[in-house]
Assembly symmetry: C2
Homo-oligomer: 365 residues x 2
Amino acid sequence: MSLILTFLGKGGSGRTTIALAAAKKMASSGSKVLLIGQDPSPSWGMLVGASPSPSPVQIAANLSVVQQQTTLLLERSWDEIKDLESQYLRSPTLKNIYGQELGVLPGMDQALALNSIREYDKTGDYDVIIYDGSGDLATLRTFGIPEVFSWYIRRFRQVLTESDIGKILSPFIQPITSAILNVSWTADDLVNKPSNEANDILDQGRKALANPNRIRAYLVTTDDPVAVTQAKYLWGSAQQIGLTVAGVILNQSELTDTLAAEFAPLSLTSVPSRIGEDWQAVINALPNFQEGVNAPKPLTIEIASNQVRVFLPGLAKNQVKLTQSGPELTIEAGDQRRNIDVPESLRGKPVKGAKFLEGYLIISF
Amino acid sequence: MSLILTFLGKGGSGRTTIALAAAKKMASSGSKVLLIGQDPSPSWGMLVGASPSPSPVQIAANLSVVQQQTTLLLERSWDEIKDLESQYLRSPTLKNIYGQELGVLPGMDQALALNSIREYDKTGDYDVIIYDGSGDLATLRTFGIPEVFSWYIRRFRQVLTESDIGKILSPFIQPITSAILNVSWTADDLVNKPSNEANDILDQGRKALANPNRIRAYLVTTDDPVAVTQAKYLWGSAQQIGLTVAGVILNQSELTDTLAAEFAPLSLTSVPSRIGEDWQAVINALPNFQEGVNAPKPLTIEIASNQVRVFLPGLAKNQVKLTQSGPELTIEAGDQRRNIDVPESLRGKPVKGAKFLEGYLIISF
C-alpha cells in the first residue's frame, strides 16, 4: 500500500513545483515514488522537466511520472465494462460501441483519476504516490467520491426498496432477468447484489481516506492574501470529505510567523524560490512527508456525551449550515454536503444545539 | 439572448481580473452585464472586490455578479426533477429524498453551471454574460456537454434499439409503464419520447456554441513559457468542442510582437498591470469584446471536394489522432474525443488521407 499525497492551493501558487520537489525528496531518501499529473497539457511536462506519457516513465532513480489522459483511461474502463457485460448477459449489446469513440463528459476525469490512483496503489510498485491534480474543489470532489457515492447508494436503495415502484417491478424482474441475464436473479438480488463489489471498493476508499497515514493533503500558498484565503477555504473544505490536511507550505515568502498563526495548529514550512535547475534548497526546506501526522481528526463521535465534533477550520460560522431533513445529519460547508450516518443510539434524535468553538462545530443531541 | 464570454488560461495568469475588467468595460459602455464566478471560495469575492452571493447582486451600474454554489443549484434542480416525477408517476418515489441532503459528485458542478448559464441567458436580463470558470479543460468539458451528450444519446439509442435486449424488453414495457406511469407508453416511446425535450435543449446548446456571436472564448496568458504553452493547448482544445477562440490577452508583459506570432492569426492585446484600484488603464487596453469576430471556424465540411477541414491550432501533429471505429469520424486531441457526424454522402466512406496544414487537419474521403 502506498502513501498517497496531494497538494491543495490556488492556481499559480506553485503546487506542481512543490509536488515535484516532494517527489524528488522522497525518491532520494530511497522511497519508490510515482508523480501523477492530472493536467494533460504539454505545459505540465515543462513544469516537471520531463516528457511524461500516459504510462509511468522513470525520470530518475526511484522516481516515475505519469500524465493522466482521460480519453485513454476511459477506453480501458470501457473494455472492462464490456468484459463484465459479456460475462452476465446472454447477448451482449455494448460490444458494438468502441472505447475509441467515447467522448468525455464532466466528472469522468475525476472518477477515472481516482480509479487509476487506486490501481497504481494496488500494484504495490510505489511507496509513495503524489497526485498533482487541479488542487481545488475538483480534487476534493475526486477524493470525495467514495463518501458521497456510498451515500447515494445507501439512500436511494432504501427509498426504492420501500417504494411502490419497487413493489410493482418485483413480478417482472424474474422473467426479464432470466431472459436477459445468464443467471436468475430476484428483485432482492437486483437491489443488493450488483452493488456489493462496488460497495467494497467504495468502503476501501472511505477507509483509506479516513486514515492520514494512507492519504493526506498539504496546503500550498504564497503570501498573496487571495492565495491565503483560498488555502484556508480548502483546508476547511477538505474536512468535509474526511481528508486530513497535514501541513502548510509557504512558497516564496518569508512572512512565516504572520501566516503560521492563520493556519494554527498546522505546521507551516517556508520554502525558498528555486534558482534555475537547483532543487536542493527547495528539497531541504520541505517537511518530512513520511513522518506520522498529528493533525486534528475531521470527525469525532462521542457517544457517552451525545456529541458529534466536526473539525471545520478556515471557514466562518456563516459558511456552515446544519440540516436534519433526511435520516442523517447533513453538514453543508465549502460547497459540499456531508451526510453523517450517526450511531444507532443517536439516529433520529433531534439536534439540541450546535456551536462553533476553536475551529470545531460541536453538535449536541 | 446574451453574448456569452469566457476566458481560458493557466491558473494565476490573471483570468478573473481580466474577466472583471471586461465586465466593467462593457457595463460602462451601456450593456447589462452578469459576471458568473464558478469558484465558491471567498477568495473570488476578494478578487472581484465585492460580496457576491448565489443570486445576482448589482455592484455597479449595469453590472451584476453571482457566485455559483453547486449545493444550492443541485437543490433547485432536484425540486424540478421531483416535480416532473410527480407529473408522470402514479406514486412518486423521489419525494422522500430532500434536495438539502444531496451530496455533490464530480461532474455536477459543470452540468449545473451550464444549466444556470442557460437560465440566466433565457431571462433576457443581460446583454452579456461572462463566465469565470476554472479556465482549463474543466471549462471546455462544461461547454462541451451538449455536443458530447448528444452523441451518447444518438449512439446508445441506436445500439439499444437494434439489440436483443431491446427486443426482449419490448413485451414488458407496456405492462410495467402502465402500472408505474400515469400514461401508456410503448417501447418505441420509451426510447424516443423522454429524450425529446432534453434533445431540444442540447440542440440549442450546440447551435449557440457553434455561433461565435453567441458564445466565444479569449485566451489569457502572461509571457511565462509555461502559461503560453498552456494557452496554446487550450486554443486547440477549444476547437474540439466547437468553441471559437476570438483573441489573446497578454497580461502584464510587453513581449507583444514575439507572442503575437505564436498565436497568429488571432489578434493579441497587451494589457498593463493594474495599479491599486485604478482599473481604467486595464479597461482601455482591452479589445472591443462586442465587435464581430473574424476567427477561423472550428469545422468546415466541403461536400464538393469530399473534405473535412478541422481547425486545430496550438497542437502538434503527434497530439492529434484520427479514428474511424464507429459509424462516425473520431478526432482525438486535447484529451477530448470529437465525433463528427459527416453528411450522408460521406458516411461509411473510408478516409483516404489526412494532413496537417497551417493549423488545419484536412481529411479527405
